[in-house]
Symmetry: C2
Subunit: 307 residues, 2 copies
């Protein structure tokens, strides 16, 4: 089977083909050497694009714009308002790498998407006495609605996940394990901790190095969680789950580095290259065609996703 065919049918899932026309280039936050950050637009990118399209379709089915419109319209709107993130797709890719079916990972990926969107919404709420710098995010709704709908999105995502339990397949234990992974990652140990330190960082600029160090410690937590969840759902062994967790962590750290435009290019380039090497190492031993598909990430514009 040719590589192209292998990529278009992973685990019997027909991959959604995005027409092969070059997309408008997204503005890159940094001028980076082409060797590492080569942004080519080819049919290979359709692997990540197709995952993203499937998650979006799943979410649109889960949050149709229906009555009461006052609740479902903003929930749908805010779900898709956050900048693109690799996190949900990482979960699906890891599941497929481990031999799972794409459909098995879509509810978890959707839950992760909702968590991320809720976090983004709350991160940009206009609070009184806020210590944050003014955000230039366009607000789709009033602050009350953005607060409450953000609150609803977290349990709604977990409800989607809990409902995906299929008693005939006896996967309740896997779903509960995934639930623990996600709730922990977005709870005090992970994303919230990061947000908390973001706030603290803006409050006290006098101790910057401490904060960057803290940020780096927690960066990639959600990416690591997403990849580990995919591996759990794909039926991976403990060793495989931990390999995917580390893979996700490196991917998350790369995204963090790219998003922090403070360092000079040379230093950044070196760090990214090292992370990419470590990430690729974690994929050794898995099905080669699938590894190839996943690795297109480093050539895709997902690299420049904000989160």
């Amino acid at each position: 089977m040719s590589m192209a065919r292998a990529l278009s049918h992973i685990n019997g899932n027909s991959v959604f083909h995005v027409p092969c026309r070059p997309k408008p280039k997204r503005q890159c936050p940094l001028q980076l050497p082409r060797r590492v950050f080569k942004v080519t637009v080819s049919c290979n990118q359709s692997y990540w694009d197709s995952i993203n399209s499937d998650i979006k379709a799943h979410l649109n089915r889960a949050i149709p714009i229906r009555e009461p419109l006052t609740v479902f319209e903003p929930m749908n709107g805010l779900t898709f308002a956050a900048p693109r993130s690799i996190v949900p797709a990482l979960c699906v890719a890891a599941c497929e790498l481990l031999g799972g079916h794409r459909d098995d990972a879509l509810p978890t990926a959707s839950a992760l998407w909702l968590m991320y969107s809720a976090s983004f919404t709350h991160e940009h709420l206009p609070l009184t006495q806020s210590c944050r710098p003014k955000s230039d995010v366009r607000h789709l709704y009033g602050p009350n609605i953005e607060l409450l709908i953000g609150d609803a999105m977290i349990p709604f995502g977990l409800e989607l996940l809990a409902k995906s339990d299929d008693r005939t397949q006896n996967i309740s234990t896997r779903i509960l394990r995934v639930m623990i992974e996600i709730t922990r990652a977005i709870g005090s140990q992970g994303m919230i901790y990061k947000q908390y330190h973001d706030v603290e960082r803006h409050r006290s600029n006098n101790n910057k190095s401490y904060h960057v160090e803290k940020l780096e410690k927690y960066e990639g937590t959600l990416h690591a969680c997403a990849a580990a969840c995919g591996a759990i759902l794909g039926g991976g062994s403990e060793e495989e789950i931990e390999k995917m967790r580390r893979y996700g962590l490196y991917v998350g750290k790369i995204q963090g580095m790219v998003s922090r435009a403070e360092r000079n290019d040379k230093e950044l380039n070196k760090s990214v290259e090292e992370m990419r090497r470590l990430a690729t190492k974690e994929l050794s031993g898995f099905n080669e065609a699938k590894v190839q598909a996943i690795s297109t990430y480093f050539e895709s514009d997902f690299m420049y996703a904000q989160f």
Copy 2:
């Protein structure tokens, strides 16, 4: 066995005995006829008090004040800052009524407590351009912290619940069902919907009757959910689960009525009496000693809990 002894040992759980001294009377929002709202302070009240103490102890073990203090201190503080609610204890009481062990319901009750506290915290956030009336709630922390810690409390509660899965007992399916109940109740269908309409009500005072009608429709959703969850965990049949759901709903509606001090006493008194009759009817057929213990609710000052 005497009633006192029956009450002090339900399902083999030794009930925490609160010393029999009269508590300071809480201010009642309404002057109500003594017949319905007789506030007696007796040893019987120790049933609900003991449940509440056990949930508090469980939460204190789950959220000890430990490092990082910047996260766990406010999480602990905000968890216990919300006004007392009957919701978590309802879950434990329903579980015990159905023959379950108190310990089986404590993680779910703790999750419900955290959901309620998170909701209370966010409901009183000082937002810019807020349409809400000014709240006189004392803020323990800055608005950023209250927003983020509130965000962390929802997944943290669900993590506690997911972690309570005991593979040796094969209860994963029950836990997932409870998870669906809770996430649905606090998501778009329930509490959030209510909050959303609270906000809308304050925004447009010209359509009050419509909003009260909407409020009443969703009132008691979380109480109904808590009681149904307890019944699920206690191993109840579908019919028993639905009976407990209705019981919780009536209790929730009573609390809603008591908290809305707009109507005249006579009308309110009649409605409360009718709800109490319906609630009591749902308990028929269950173990009499346990029904007696649960029914002390109507004599306790839990009736005047804010939520």
